[in-house]
């Protein structure tokens, strides 16, 4: 039988397209034996077409995915879909002649020909893209880790600075525990024993020991190592815990702390330790800012409220000397400080933390004396 010229030329054109294609093109017949293997496929797999034509497709697949791959094709065979685009399929791996593997994106189509079905896969080697992606992810991870580590170092530094006042916060209830326990023994030893007083003293022992314990738990949580992890948090709870840590410092500087919160605050999505760190930083700044104030009360207010529909705002308001409007944004620059012994990292770290949470941190002078720092956090949805 004579093959018409047009057909010959069509086949040549088809072969030309196939050979110059950027992607590997591999066809298998109904028995999953390779019938087409273009130049890009040779390049990707390291086999010549002659070596693989007529061989089972498994030759080109890692052993672990051969079985599932066969099922995949059979499933595709029985489905009514005739083509799946790149990216629609899960990531596949090819096996080179030398045994090494490479990640690939694949698309697949089927043709029903008179001589039987033909499945054709288009494969793109994505090794290089994967490498770039991995490098970028590594860089981002390193950055996140560096930021977290910086924040942690700042927390340890803050704790070091607070050690004396926190020791006092533990010592105070501890002194009360010891005194109550001694009083209890005396009430019991009295004749007749005063059970009501002894009982009341023991109740106070429990209460005060818990109070000391809370401070310790707060410190440990604050200093724990580990990557930031965002969870569903009640802002009121965060404020309460931070106020416990800052109480001693406020007492030392004769600052009255007030906490306000609107009812029914929605939970926020945040890393507990990092948000506590930001809040503690703002509170300690405010206490320090007020240390020069002698002519009016030193008052610190921490107010929590809803901010729009999907944010919670926390405001830390002091009655200190206030802010210089011109230098307000510089406050958040690294190494910018107005304190003689400050490192100037507190607000920079705080802002980076809030940024990483998708919130905002900013400062405003008050109408009266002092300044207010506010930050927002997204509501947990």
């Amino acid at each position: 039988m004579q093959i018409p010229d047009e057909l010959r030329s069509l086949e040549a054109r088809f072969a030309g397209i196939l050979e110059t294609a950027e992607d590997a093109v591999i066809s298998v017949d109904a028995d999953q034996r390779i019938t087409v293997f273009n130049r890009a496929a040779e390049k990707s797999f390291g086999y010549t077409a002659a070596e693989v034509i007529g061989q089972p497709l498994e030759l080109l697949l890692p052993d672990r995915s051969a079985a599932s791959h066969r099922q995949l094709i059979e499933g595709f065979d029985h489905s009514s879909v005739t083509a799946r685009r790149m990216g629609e399929l899960r990531e596949v791996f090819g096996r080179r002649k030398n045994g090494s593997e490479f990640p690939a994106e694949a698309s697949i189509s089927k043709l029903n020909l008179p001589g039987g079905k033909l499945f054709t896969a288009f494969l793109r080697d994505v090794t290089e893209r994967k490498q770039i992606e991995a490098a970028r992810k590594q860089a981002v991870d390193a950055l996140v880790e560096a930021r977290a580590e910086l924040a942690r170092v700042a927390r340890v530094t803050t704790m070091g600075e607070l050690a004396a006042s926190i020791a006092q916060e533990v010592n105070q209830p501890l002194a009360a525990v010891i005194t109550n326990a001694s009083a209890c023994l005396r009430w019991l030893a009295a004749t007749p024993s005063n059970m009501a007083e002894a009982n009341a003293a023991v109740q106070r022992v429990i209460r005060d020991a818990n109070r000391a314990g809370e401070v310790i738990v707060g410190i440990r949580a604050f200093l724990k190592r580990g990557q930031p992890r965002k969870t569903q948090l009640q802002m009121g709870e965060i404020v309460r815990e931070v106020v416990i840590l800052a109480q001693g410092e406020a007492r030392t500087h004769e600052v009255a702390m007030r906490v306000e919160s609107t009812a029914d605050l929605p939970p926020v999505l945040a890393d507990q330790v990092e948000v506590q760190q930001v809040l503690l930083n703002l509170i300690l700044n405010a206490i320090e800012a007020m240390s020069t104030v002698t002519e009016r009360a030193r008052v610190l207010e921490v107010a929590t409220a809803k901010h729009g529909a999907d944010e919670v705002v926390v405001a830390v308001r002091d009655s200190g000397p206030g802010l210089d409007l011109g230098r307000m944004e510089r406050l958040f620059d690294p190494f910018y400080t107005t304190k003689p012994d400050g490192m100037g990292m507190g607000l920079a770290i705080s802002r980076s933390i809030i940024d990483a949470h998708g919130g905002q941190l900013w400062a405003m002078p008050n109408d009266g004396p002092g300044a207010t720092f506010r930050f927002t956090l997204p509501v947990f949805a």
Partner: protein, 213 residues
């Protein structure tokens, strides 16, 4: 004036510490009044009774040391037992120099505190008795006439009636009459007794001096 039940004042800004101290001190049968600040303590009408003050050094507003100074300036001599969670030495020195009865770091041994409280109350009672006696002497001295005061000054110096009479230009008989009145008014049983009374207080300045409540 009948002395009232003695009382211990506790000033500490920490409610836990206040409650604990109150219970401990009450357990030995003493009356306790607690305050959270210096101002609160100062505005409380304190009874005329033997007392002592258990005072936290560090308080919001005026500190414990400020309160100590203020009480001293007002001439109040209530014994002060300082308690502190900081135990810093310069502060202790300042407090002790300013006359603190005791300085106890928190947490303290309860026996130490209770001993300090008992001692302070006893000391205050003794001081009060002394002051009461002085006040009585002053009251009696106030009843003497000008001439009787002149005679008193001379006889407690050991002058004889004759010498007193010569110095004041009066008769010896008159001196004797004055002397009898003086002994009666001052409730002195003998010359030695009168000298002892006179030694207790500078009679020339009677009516002045510090107030004591």
């Amino acid at each position: 004036m009948k002395p009232q039940e003695s009382v211990v004042f506790v000033v500490d800004d920490d409610a836990s510490v206040r409650e604990a101290l109150s219970s401990l001190i009450r357990s030995i049968g003493l009356r306790v009044e607690t305050f959270s600040s210096a101002q609160e303590f100062l505005s409380y009408p304190r009874p005329n009774a033997a007392a002592c003050l258990v005072l936290d050094v560090r308080l919001p507003g005026p500190s414990g040391l400020d309160l100590q100074r203020e009480l001293a300036n007002a001439g109040e001599r209530i014994p002060i037992i300082f308690i502190t969670g900081h135990g810093d030495i310069p502060m202790t020195v300042r407090a002790m120099k300013a006359g603190a009865a005791e300085f106890l770091p928190k947490p303290f041994r309860e026996q130490e505190l209770l001993d300090a409280v008992r001692t302070a109350i006893e000391r205050d009672r003794a001081t009060r008795d002394q002051w009461a006696e002085l006040a009585q002497i002053r009251d009696r001295y106030e009843t003497l006439t000008a001439r009787e005061r002149e005679v008193t000054t001379l006889i407690v110096k050991g002058k004889l009636n004759k010498q007193v009479a010569a110095e004041l230009g009066i008769s010896e008989i008159t001196v004797k009459v004055h002397r009898r009145h003086i002994m009666e008014k001052m409730k002195a049983r003998s010359l030695a007794d009168l000298v002892r009374i006179a030694e207790k207080t500078p009679l020339e300045n009677a009516g002045g001096g510090a107030t004591y409540t």
